[in-house]
């Protein structure tokens, strides 16, 4: 089972929910940080990192001796990553999406394969499972290819161990967020009952609903008089699986990098309930 923990906006407590789930998980599981721009899961899980490797993207390298400046590659490239400047073909690797199109169309074989470093992928162990994360290089603009590298690693781990995966996804509703939740069996949306939170949650529902996966909601900082979020969930038919109350003690725990489920037995029990609700949600969706 792959569980994606996502949120319409950042700062809703997505990472601490993901870490908490990981800490109460009973079967072997990989906790994966797919929020490669701001990877924070390790701050909560404190894994022992056993390996780290560079993740790269294939970008073209021009051979001026062979290039006839026919411009077939520059006509194809949609990202302005190759251009003819004066009497020379120039490559801008940082703009390249690695589609391989220019290499495929060059009639002279004038383009070779180079690479751009996207960031790194790292892995190791937590107290009760595996850990995997991507870390975007500062200055690198594209996170989806690094996410793909992390997911490829995850697939190979899962095929070996056959366990579950808990994905800490990037916030928001654009391409990196949708990419991250795409392979999940169930999506857990963490939301806040504030006007901003509700607005962003609505966008998240809109973004993820077309994927047709079962979804559940965790309401964080609950307890303010506003019941709009609960009503909205009922209206949209998305069950609220857990409510984490708004309280200063919890905020402090979070601020010091604590895992909510490890705070006290009461919290641990609530996250265990959340864990048990997930397979039920998947089953119900399959029958519906």
């Amino acid at each position: 089972m792959i569980v994606a923990v996502a949120s319409g906006k950042g700062g809703t407590g997505k990472t601490t929910v993901c870490a908490s789930l990981a800490s109460v998980w009973e079967r072997p599981a990989v906790a994966v940080d797919l929020d490669v721009e701001e990877p924070n899961l390790h701050l909560f899980l404190r894994p022992v990192v056993r390996w780290r490797e560079a993740a790269t993207l294939e970008t073209p390298v021009a051979d001026p001796a062979r290039c006839t400046l026919c411009r077939k590659c520059t006509d194809l490239c949609q990202f302005k990553a190759v251009a003819v400047l004066g009497k020379r073909l120039a490559v801008f690797p940082e703009m390249c999406h690695g589609c391989g199109g220019c290499l495929a169309v060059c009639p002279e074989g004038a383009l070779g394969v180079g690479s751009r470093e996207l960031g790194s992928v790292e892995g190791g162990e937590t107290r009760n499972g595996h850990y995997l994360a991507g870390r975007l290089r500062v200055g690198e603009a594209m996170s989806p290819p690094l996410q793909r590298a992390v997911k490829a690693r995850l697939a190979s781990i899962l095929s070996r161990t056959g366990g579950d995966a808990l994905l800490d996804c990037p916030p928001g509703v654009s391409c990196p967020a949708v990419n991250a939740v795409r392979d999940a069996h169930v999506i857990l949306l963490v939301a806040e009952p504030t006007p901003f939170g509700i607005h962003d949650f609505t966008l998240a529902l809109e973004a993820f609903a077309p994927l047709g996966k079962p979804m559940g909601v965790v309401i964080n900082r609950a307890g303010h008089a506003d019941s709009t979020l609960t009503r909205l969930c009922a209206e949209k038919g998305v069950p609220v699986l857990l409510e984490i109350p708004y309280d200063r003690e919890i905020a402090r725990e979070y601020a010091s990098g604590g895992v909510l489920a490890a705070m006290n037995p009461r919290m641990a029990a609530r996250f265990a309930d959340l864990r048990d609700a997930l397979p039920r949600l998947i089953k119900e969706a399959a029958h519906a």
Binding site: K9, N40, L76, G101, V138, C175, L203, S256
Partner: protein, 298 residues
């Protein structure tokens, strides 16, 4: 013309509430919401719609089943796994297509069309603090960096036309493409952070990005009383990088209250927070007048 961009390594640090307060304090400015992925500023500024435009960015591939012979060349060439087999032929999943044109160029039957991709819409509107430029990205769309660039361009054009000296932006979170676009050409980045391990971690990466882009940065430490040790660590981090902490704002329910009422904190009567924000605003307005910082050396 000056451009001040409020940024934060991660979301939820109070960036939008702070931008709203600064918009109130700035008076004559064009306000721009660059957090296109979770655009929330309009919830506080409640603009009256003036203009609305579609946002197109790039293209998407669409297979014409009438011409496709099902040879599968496109599926082999597509590096993004966007071409999927379907009923003997092929179909393109628009959420995976990067619009790279490879299948379009190399399909032997010219069976792939390549229309422009509509990625969202953008608006301008009048608010009680001046013009707001904001957008709504189609959920799942990419290229928000381009949308950010477009919004900034519009905001600058409006400022120029109206004779205003300042563009104030609510920037995108993270450190990827949209933030890089948010910071491009800005006079000052205001990094909002919280005293938590993730807050510090994200701030560190953000300040490094600012340094690389040679954008002057200052810091607002929000909820500074949440964790004394972390607050100290952030102060040290900023000092080491020569980044001024322009405000230390305590955790105060008034921020939440203001959000619930759709107001800027500075609009609520008698908030002590308002005084701190006023001081912060004066300081960062002054910082934005300085030139670019020295080049970054790793």
């Amino acid at each position: 013309m000056r451009e001040i961009v409020v940024v934060s390594g991660k979301g939820g640090t109070g960036k939008t509430s702070l931008t709203a307060a600064f918009a109130d304090l700035a008076g004559r400015a064009v306000v721009c919401d660059l957090d296109v992925d979770a655009a929330d500023l309009h919830l506080v500024l409640t603009p009256a719609l003036e203009r609305r435009e579609d946002f197109f960015s790039g293209h998407e591939a669409v297979i014409d089943p009438a011409r496709c012979t099902g040879c599968g060349i496109c599926a082999t060439l597509c590096r993004f796994g966007a071409v999927l087999p379907e009923g003997g032929g092929y179909r393109i999943d628009p959420t995976r297509c990067e619009g790279c044109k490879v299948c379009v160029s190399l399909c032997p039957e010219a069976a792939v069309n390549f229309p422009e991709r509509r990625c969202g819409e953008w608006f301008t509107g009048q608010t009680r603090f001046g013009t707001l430029v904001h957008a709504r990205l189609t959920p799942g769309a990419e290229n928000s960096g381009r949308l950010v660039t477009l919004l900034k361009k519009e905001a600058r054009a409006i400022a120029l036309a109206d004779g205003l000296e300042l563009v104030l932006c609510d920037g995108s979170p993270g450190i990827g493409c949209p933030v890089i676009s948010s910071l491009a050409g800005a006079n000052l980045a205001v990094a909002v952070t919280e005293p938590t391990p993730s807050g510090r971690h994200d701030l560190e990466r953000l300040l490094e990005l600012c340094a690389r882009l040679r954008t002057r940065a200052c810091c607002v430490l929000n909820k500074c009383d949440l964790n004394a040790a972390e607050a100290r660590a952030i102060e040290e981090l900023c000092a080491a990088r020569d980044v001024e902490v322009v405000a230390r704002l305590p955790h105060d329910d008034i921020v939440f209250e203001a959000m619930l009422r759709g107001r800027a904190v500075t609009e609520l009567p008698g908030a002590p927070m308002a005084t701190l924000l006023k001081q912060a605003w004066n300081r960062l307005a002054a910082l934005s007048e300085l030139g670019r910082p020295a080049p970054w050396r790793p």
